[in-house]
């Protein structure tokens, strides 16, 4: 006899259940196996009353599904909608594959003696700091010197593409959140989920959906993970714009569009840039995990270090990622600081 027989008896569901106590050809629980090997029925004391979980209820009533039926049901459900989903999602996300492939090709095709000065130029244009340009040269020089140049460029290419797409989508989403409390209420749980869900969890359905060879697979994974800060901080930034200034804009007859582009976005820019900085950092973190699903770059080396226990490779590529992170962080922060100076009051 199982503990919760009385529920099904009480509800008059015994017929629906079939014979109680019988394992009915279904799956067998560990307790039942133990009971069979020890040869006597399991005696359950009051102290050990199990929680009425799916498995325990299944013992009382074979028609009641076990928990493994739930997980396999989820899987089957996903597999059945997969094809339909793929028809829709595949063409929409195809440009992402092209962008990633293109960026990877460009970053590797351009020779180092053009690429490094170009990156120096970007760093200077953004930060106006010679010291920072020196840091950029030092880091890239070191990485190229230890023959990690092409890996670094691959990682950089992926981050550029993903960060740009994050900003492209994240800022408008953030703006719409800031303009409507209802959009904000629906978006916040989604953002919370994206931020807390372990990245491995959404890698699994993505693998089912796309083939592992397609760049968009890791592209989507990185974007989902990294878009959150720019959305949140855009929303916050626009909501924090001084209401007095907004009132002045209204009082002088600005249209909503003029208010958005001439007042709200410029004043929210420090916060938006802080979001962009966080987004870049998070895409860098995700690039390593994404190498599990064939993302090229420094992450591949880290993975090799783990898989074949090549300590040196793992350490050096880890250092490379740190250097890249420092450069990206300093350059975006310098840009942020310049905006802040021109707006401080």
């Amino acid at each position: 006899m199982a503990t919760y027989d009385f529920i099904f008896d009480g509800l008059g569901l015994r017929n629906w259940c079939g014979d109680s106590g019988d394992d009915g050809g279904g799956m067998t629980s560990m307790a039942q196996l133990l009971a069979e090997t020890s040869g006597n029925d399991v005696v359950v004391s009051g102290w050990e009353t199990p929680f009425p979980s799916m498995d325990v209820l299944h013992e009382a009533c074979t028609s009641f599904p076990q928990s493994r039926a739930l997980t396999s049901g989820l899987e089957e459900g996903f597999l059945t909608i997969k094809d339909g989903l793929k028809v829709v999602v595949d063409p929409i996300t195809q440009p992402l594959s092209w962008a990633l492939e293109g960026a990877l090709w460009v970053m590797q095709a351009v020779p180092w003696f053009i690429m490094i000065p170009l990156l120096m130029g970007i760093a200077y244009a953004v930060s106006r700091s010679v010291k920072l340009v020196g840091l950029v040269v030092l880091c890239f020089g070191f990485l190229a010197f230890v023959d990690y140049y092409s890996y670094t460029m691959q990682t950089l290419a992926i981050i550029f593409v993903c960060a740009i797409i994050c900003v492209l989508f994240g800022v408008p989403i953030g703006i719409s959140m800031s303009r409507s409390d209802r959009v904000q209420r629906t978006m916040i749980p989604i953002l919370d989920m994206l931020q807390t869900l372990p990245p491995f969890v959404y890698l699994i359905p993505l693998i089912f959906l796309f083939s592992v060879t397609e760049p968009k697979l890791y592209g989507i994974a990185i974007i989902l993970y990294a878009i959150v800060p720019v959305v949140r901080l855009t929303d916050l930034g626009i909501r924090l714009v001084d209401p007095d200034v907004i009132e002045a804009a209204d009082a002088f007859g600005m249209t909503d569009r003029q208010k958005l582009f001439n007042v709200q976005i410029p004043l929210a820019l420090p916060n938006i840039m802080a979001g962009v900085n966080q987004t870049i950092m998070m895409s860098l973190a995700m690039v390593v995990i994404a190498s599990l699903v064939s993302a090229p770059g420094l992450g591949v080396l880290v993975l090799r270090g783990i898989r074949s226990l090549e300590l040196g490779v793992g350490l050096l590529s880890g250092l490379g990622i740190v250097l890249l992170a420092i450069i990206l962080d300093r350059v975006t922060k310098a840009a942020l600081a310049r905006i802040n100076v021109s707006q401080s009051r």
């Binding site: 001084d242 007095d244 200034v245 009132e247 002045a248 209204d250 009082a251 002088f252 007859g253 600005m254 249209t255 003029q258 001439n262 007042v263 410029p266 004043l267 820019l269 021109s342 707006q343 401080s344 009051r345």
Partner: protein, 355 residues
């Protein structure tokens, strides 16, 4: 419906803040007061039956303590706040019937506003801030630069055009705010406690600036303040608000001499009356000047200056002149009586008719 010299007229304006303002309005029409409405229905009576006429080319000061609804009232004039009921007529149009485009036109061309906290755009230069109104209409900086620079110079900001607001002091920022309002070339200027955030000396400077500008430009100014001294200094027409309704409105001198109720008496009791009251408000209106042997004074002189002239001798009386012609006589005894708040002028007509 407007007399020719009335620019804005507010009729039966009500504003109720709450979940169901229309229901609140019903209660108010049935005679419920502000306190009861708040306690029983959790609705706040912001404005209660406001009727004000704003004369063209004059400064109308709306005065009240915090919570009296004065900032709410001024925001109804350009519909930054929508009323619960009532009418606001500007140049013969009820602006509450305006659609979005008409409302924007009103805000761009007819009314400009100066704010207590300046509300300048921190990412734009002083010049770009001053040129906000033309830039909203799509003019580029080169097109509006001359106009904006002219007004910046006029308010005393020569050579500051390329600064950013945060590089200026509070007083200078508010000068930018005023230049911004003037650059829009609108007839009406709404000033919401424009000088309240400034320290006293700078505030006095700014008051003089406004008086100068008014003498020159004759804009229709609606000025909000909680400071009676400021109100009396600037006002051609004074409206006193309390708890969302108009307690008294009229010529400032008249209000000072004939406070309508104890609330206003309280208010005006701390004022230096000698500095505010003018000869025309207390003189005896007799064209054929009997007496007045001691000398001639102008009808617009303050009592303070007359006291200085008489050297404190209460036995004297002066002949009052207006545009070179005698209009009355001021007896020093009467002047001294007018300085005591509780003693009213024994000739109320003279005060009402003056001005």
């Amino acid at each position: 419906m407007n007399e020719p010299d009335i620019k804005i007229s507010i009729r039966k304006l009500y504003k109720i803040f709450g979940d169901d303002p229309q229901m609140g309005l019903q209660y108010v029409n049935d005679g419920m007061g502000k306190t009861d409405l708040l306690e029983e229905h959790k609705q706040v009576l912001g404005l209660n039956d406001i009727n004000v006429d704003v004369p063209t080319g004059k400064t109308t000061v709306i005065m009240g303590l915090s919570g009296s609804g004065k900032s709410t009232l001024i925001r109804h004039l350009n519909r930054l706040i929508e009323p619960t009921a009532g009418e606001v007529w500007v140049d013969g149009d009820n602006i509450l019937e305006y659609n979005d485009a008409e409302l924007r036109h009103l805000r761009q061309h007819k009314m400009s506003m100066v704010f207590q906290k300046f509300a300048l755009l921190p990412h734009r230069t002083v010049l770009q801030n001053a040129g906000l109104a033309p830039s909203i209409e799509g003019e580029n900086e080169r097109a509006y630069a001359d106009e904006a620079r002219k007004w910046l110079d006029r308010v005393g900001l020569q050579g500051q055009a390329d600064q950013y607001p945060h590089q200026l002091s509070g007083g200078m920022q508010q000068r930018v705010g005023i230049a911004r309002a003037l650059t829009s070339n609108s007839d009406i200027m709404l000033m919401d406690e424009a000088f309240s955030a400034l320290d006293p000396l700078i505030r006095t400077d700014m008051q003089h600036l406004l008086i100068e500008l008014q003498a020159e430009l004759q804009k229709t100014v609606v000025f909000i303040t909680h400071d009676l001294d400021e109100a009396l200094k600037l006002a051609d027409h004074l409206v006193i608000l309390k708890d969302g309704f108009v307690v008294q409105q009229g010529e400032p001198q008249h209000i000072l001499l004939h406070p309508a109720d104890p609330y206003i008496e309280d208010f005006v009791s701390d004022i230096n009356r000698a500095r505010v009251l003018r000869v025309r408000s207390v003189m005896s209106r007799t064209p054929d000047a009997q007496g007045g042997r001691a000398g001639e004074i102008d009808h617009d002189d303050t009592l303070e200056s007359v006291i200085a002239l008489s050297e404190g001798d209460t036995a004297l009386s002066y002949r009052v002149m207006k545009d070179g012609a005698p209009v009355g006589v001021l007896d020093m005894r009467k002047l001294v009586r007018a300085l005591v708040p509780s003693v009213q002028s024994d000739d109320p007509e003279s005060a009402r008719l003056s001005g």
